[in-house]
Symmetry: C3
Subunit: 267 residues, 3 copies
């Protein structure tokens, strides 16, 4: 039974040997993402400079790239890191924050996609736009529902041979063939900044734990957020108290509770 691929088993494996994950993320997310990783049981390293991002990706278990507060210098570091992850056979996760908003972002995301991310995680507006559809997105917050992005996710996954996760009220994950939905979380989560960015980092952590199975790695990370988010939401009085309760819930989450409370369904 222990060998079955369940979220609980992957969490157990991660905690037994915390993976080193290189997280190139935005300035808003840096602190909460690192805290999420530590609480869940991973070892994050925020290393972005072009002088070292590639070298570091080769020694990391996985790489995550988020273009939230993009600049030219950071993009150079991202490209080097993704190239290096590819060369070293390490999985890498792309978070295309508001990639549709400006010409600079549209160009950046095109170049990053060429480096074949293992997994893409975004909100519905981002995934729709990434697949070439017309999203209602404008800034960084999604203005579309996950359901509206499912076809886009399938197309993206097939086109780029990667796993695609659309997160929102109920998450959707696909590798272009099979697909799952993950329910849970809390309505307070969109009121806390950078939780989606933090989730991208955690997807990277599980990808490091199960590099040959990015589909289940992604499902596991989303399930961890769904279960801990639901626990934190039940006790929180607002977005402020949600944040710290969420970190407490992540740290206290056991593999058994995770598997018991997981709400994963076929899509």
């Amino acid at each position: 039974m222990q060998d079955q691929i369940t979220p609980g088993n992957l969490l157990r494996t991660m905690r037994a040997n915390p993976p080193l994950v290189q997280c190139i993320t935005n300035f808003v997310a840096m602190n909460i993402a690192a805290n999420v990783m530590l609480a869940a049981g991973a070892s994050p390293a925020m290393v972005h400079a072009e002088e070292e991002a590639g070298e570091f990706a080769a020694i990391s278990g996985a790489l995550t790239i988020n273009i939230g507060t993009l600049s030219a210098g950071w993009l150079r570091g991202m490209l080097k890191a993704a190239q290096s992850a590819n060369n070293a056979g390490k999985p890498w996760v792309l978070d295309p924050v508001a990639h549709y908003a400006t010409a600079f972002r549209r160009d950046a995301i095109t170049r990053l996609l060429e480096l074949k991310p293992t997994i893409i995680r975004g909100n519905a507006s981002e995934i729709i736009a990434l697949a070439g559809g017309t999203s209602r997105g404008q800034g960084v917050d999604s203005r579309d529902a996950v359901e509206q992005a499912e076809d886009s996710a399938l197309q993206l996954a097939e086109k780029h041979s990667c796993v695609v996760a659309v997160t929102g009220v109920t998450d959707f994950v696909t590798d272009g063939q099979k697909a799952k939905r993950i329910a849970g979380g809390s309505p307070l989560m969109p009121q806390v900044t950078a939780l989606g960015c933090s989730l991208t980092c955690l997807v990277g952590a599980f990808a490091a734990v199960a590099p040959d199975d990015p589909f289940h790695a992604t499902i596991t990370a989303l399930t961890v957020f769904a279960v801990a988010g639901q626990q934190a939401g039940a006790a929180a009085e607002g977005p402020g108290s949600f944040s710290w309760r969420f970190l407490d819930a992540l740290a206290a989450l056991t593999p058994e509770t995770l598997d018991r409370d997981a709400r994963i369904s076929a899509a």
Copy 2:
């Protein structure tokens, strides 16, 4: 009654249609500022790079610029964004953090002022120095009282045809003609870093909601902070518990409570 310009009515309008606000702020403030914006009901986007800051300002409802952790590259992005906001007729807010501290900052603030901010928000030391007076400021914390900065605020507002807000124990807001004082908040607020920077972002949010009335937009943002700050302060045991209680209070704040507890007086 609904049409009267009260803080409550502006808050109601904002929540009904969350404004997209481009916040170019410092690394310390990024996370708490975004959380303050989301809790209050706005949609923040931290976009700073010179490659896109101007393009993004044109699609935002308002722009805020804070020079806290300034560098040459960021200054270029700020200048492009402010220029673009002007061209697009969008309001923009300047937060002149420690502008007196170094030659680099003094030069930067001169160039930013030439781009005619709609609103300037600072602490007493910053406003006194910006008007050419002798402040006791040294680092980023104010060493002067708001009362001592009122004349400077009036001069600045008249000279630059903008609204000036001096925040502290009791805030002072003027457009060079009329002036108001806003009381409330908590003595714990200066013990929490970057709340002033976050307030600057919220001033931008209300400026996006009421672009033709930056005076009342500013008063509203300050009143939101004063009322939510007072609520959080009543329950907090220190600066750590204040932070999350403040976010909870912002999210729970209703237009009715805001107008009821507002302590705005003629100056």
Copy 3:
């Protein structure tokens, strides 16, 4: 009695006249480090750009440099700031985050060490590697115990004529001659990101208060963390609730409690 050098007396002196401390730290640590400084009673200023870092160091009481999210531009600012601190006779503190991880970091730390830090604070893996030993470090988290780094700390302190602090379960501080151990804190502390980086800033604050006695300044900062950390840990339910309770504990800490609960022993 008041004149005796105890942690409580140094804390009292700091609160009576909050020192301005220039903190060049990483993006993950920025916010929590500033909050730690304010809660403890110091006045932090995050100023890093090469255009002003040197000028600002001359007016600060102390400087702290942390290479966590290093880049070429930031390194230039660090070098200018450290040089300026030396010229002005101001103490400066070096935090060599993961300095062994890449060639870029190894080169950076060599250049920073040449500028003679007054104090070095790191985890066991960092201190072992800095003394030329073989650490088990890989990312930013320590994989070695403090005890294993004590000889390295002594060597480093002697070689560079500085104070060296190794922090972990029980901290070790030496100036190459004498040495102390500081016990306390909480097992939750390594689960909260950037507390070590924040401690480096606080070491800088006490170095500004006692520039002629970096040994006791360092012991004091570590003791403040140990006592407040123990208090917060006793009430916390996880890393999320630890964070804000720690800030509350720092702000509420009195000199009397600090001296009463300090667990400093000869090494």
